[in-house]
């Protein structure tokens, strides 16, 4: 129930990767025949990824994961366009791979606007347009949020960016392989993906760069990836990512319907619990994302009890992290810190069944009730415990 954190690598994916470990182990840059197998595999993978996103193979560049793709897109565009301006627009609910990159760019002299979101975690394209300045060189807004699952109005955002001639980077790590994506239909110039979020291997990712978009390399070195991303290609990883994405896109019509039905049943079952609420958007939401908050209790203790019952989940509570700050995403949605602490994220995947959803719906009320008995914040009507 924590598939937004990571997913198991599919057997078909592992099988596709294995030949590129010991047998076709050549370096794609070498000139002899065993190397050409590796080179062909990488180019075939590039075609598959391009096809899955409706883009051109020459626009796909393989990286080490979502974090590298985000760093490359943002720093690469920022530094390549320094003579044009130094202003970047992003949102308050981005993943840390984007937020911390922007914060670092501020330290080295760039100026960043962090757009607010509404209570559902949605960016307003009108506010984006208002934030655009003469010196704006990049807009970076995520496709769908990793914590609350809210899907952003990327088409409208892309139109605003395109009308103003500003490159638009979209962190699509959580969306890719889960909802349909069409890069020819959307004005997205840079698009980050991560293999392990859709049953591919960890340490694999890609950045789509629309033809004509200028950006500096992040990795300097050899001439790999059309001289844009140096470093010997992770051939098995690239093959695995492409295979996983191909399968995810092929199976999406069936799987996303099944998973969103599980999600909706889980949400309505959980919201039967008094003093609970749904975080994120009720409809514009990733098919696999459930994020709820329970008043008067704290998320880490919910997770520990769920774990004792064999359920793996995550929370936006500070107590689960070393930062001791509640989730920046929930806070940006206007949820007060004391309520953000009681949040619980369950993210479904191919491995989850109807029975799993029933089990969560049966197990959770008892856990919430028990923790409310322990909490001094619980109102009298919900109180229990051994009073003397």
């Amino acid at each position: 129930m924590d598939h937004a954190a990571t997913t198991p690598t599919r057997t078909e994916v592992t099988e596709a990767m294995l030949p590129y470990m010991a047998t076709h182990f050549g370096n794609p840059s070498s000139l002899y025949s065993i190397a050409s197998d590796s080179r062909e595999a990488v180019e075939e993978a590039r075609e598959k990824v391009a096809g899955a996103l409706n883009s051109e193979p020459s626009e796909i560049f393989f990286t080490s994961g979502g974090t590298e793709s985000d760093n490359w897109a943002i720093k690469g565009v920022a530094f390549a366009n320094r003579n044009k301006g130094n202003h970047i627009i992003t949102s308050t609910i981005e993943h840390h791979a984007v937020l911390h990159t922007c914060e670092w760019l501020e330290k080295v002299g760039f100026s960043v606007t962090y757009l607010p979101v509404d209570s559902y975690g949605m960016v307003n394209p009108g506010e984006l347009e208002d934030a655009i300045r003469e010196d704006t060189i990049l807009i970076s807004i995520m496709y769908a949020n990793n914590e609350i699952g809210t899907i952003q109005p990327v088409r409208e955002i892309g139109n605003v960016a395109s009308e103003h001639g500003i490159p638009f980077h979209c962190d699509a790590v959580q969306a890719t392989g889960h909802i349909p994506v069409d890069l020819k239909e959307t004005n997205i110039d840079l698009f980050s993906i991560s293999g392990h979020k859709f049953h591919g291997p960890k340490g694999t990712g890609a950045l789509y760069i629309r033809k004509g978009v200028r950006l500096d390399p992040l990795m300097h070195g050899g001439a790999q990836e059309a001289r844009k991303r140096a470093g010997t290609e992770n051939v098995p990883g690239i093959v695995g990512l492409a295979k996983a994405l191909e399968l995810a896109v092929k199976e999406m019509p069936q799987s996303s319907g099944r998973i969103s039905a599980l999600r909706d049943r889980m949400i309505s079952g959980i919201l039967e619990i008094p003093y609970s609420r749904l975080n994120g958007h009720p409809t514009e939401r990733l098919p696999n994302n459930v994020n709820v908050a329970f008043e008067f209790i704290e998320g880490e203790s919910i997770l520990v009890m769920l774990n004792s019952n064999g359920i793996c989940a995550s929370t936006g509570s500070a107590c689960s992290s070393s930062s001791h700050q509640p989730s920046h995403v929930l806070t940006a949605c206007g949820i007060p810190p004391e309520k953000a602490h009681g949040s619980l994220r369950l993210t479904l995947g191919d491995g989850n069944s109807d029975g799993d959803v029933d089990y969560v719906i049966e197990t959770l009320p008892g856990i919430v009730k028990r923790l409310r008995e322990i909490s001094p914040l619980t109102p009298k009507e919900l109180q229990g415990g051994d009073n003397v």
Partner: protein, 147 residues
């Protein structure tokens, strides 16, 4: 991540509940930081004869309050005052470093309950002579310095 003792006290907390007309109450923490600990004591002849707690917080915070109530029940006020956060953490079989502040909350709640009792009985509050505790609740950074 947690020891068996932490899990036992978290899942089967001892001395949980409210107390009617306690002789001393100590509440520490802050909901915006994700933890509140409330300890209530009944005192007879300077001995803590009964104790109850309620905690909003993580598993470590709940377990720390539970074991702290066991450690001070039947003890004199002075013995209870001298219970350190380190002893609370040790009794739990250790806590992960980022959770040590939970044991400190227990120590602080006990001190507050004892001083509440002393104030109600027209006694001067005891001062912590062993340590000065600095706590910034917004950043949740805690440092315990030996004075």
């Amino acid at each position: 991540m947690y020891s068996e003792t932490v899990m036992d006290h978290f899942q089967n907390p001892r001395n949980l509940g409210e107390m009617k007309e306690p002789d001393g109450i100590g509440e520490v923490g802050n909901p915006s930081c994700g933890d509140i600990m409330k300890i209530m004591i009944r005192v007879e002849d300077d001995v803590i004869v009964d104790v109850r707690f309620k905690t909003f917080g993580c598993a470590a915070a709940i377990a720390s309050s539970s074991i702290a109530t066991e450690l001070i029940k039947g003890k004199t006020l002075e013995q209870a005052w001298n219970l350190s956060n380190k002893e609370v953490a040790e009794a739990l079989g250790g806590l992960p470093p980022e959770k040590l502040h939970c044991s400190l909350l227990a120590e602080q709640a006990i001190h507050k309950a004892i001083n509440d009792f002393r104030a109600k009985n027209d006694q001067e509050p005891w001062e912590d002579s062993k340590k000065s505790i600095e706590k910034d609740y917004m950043n949740h950074e805690i440092s315990v310095k030996d004075a």
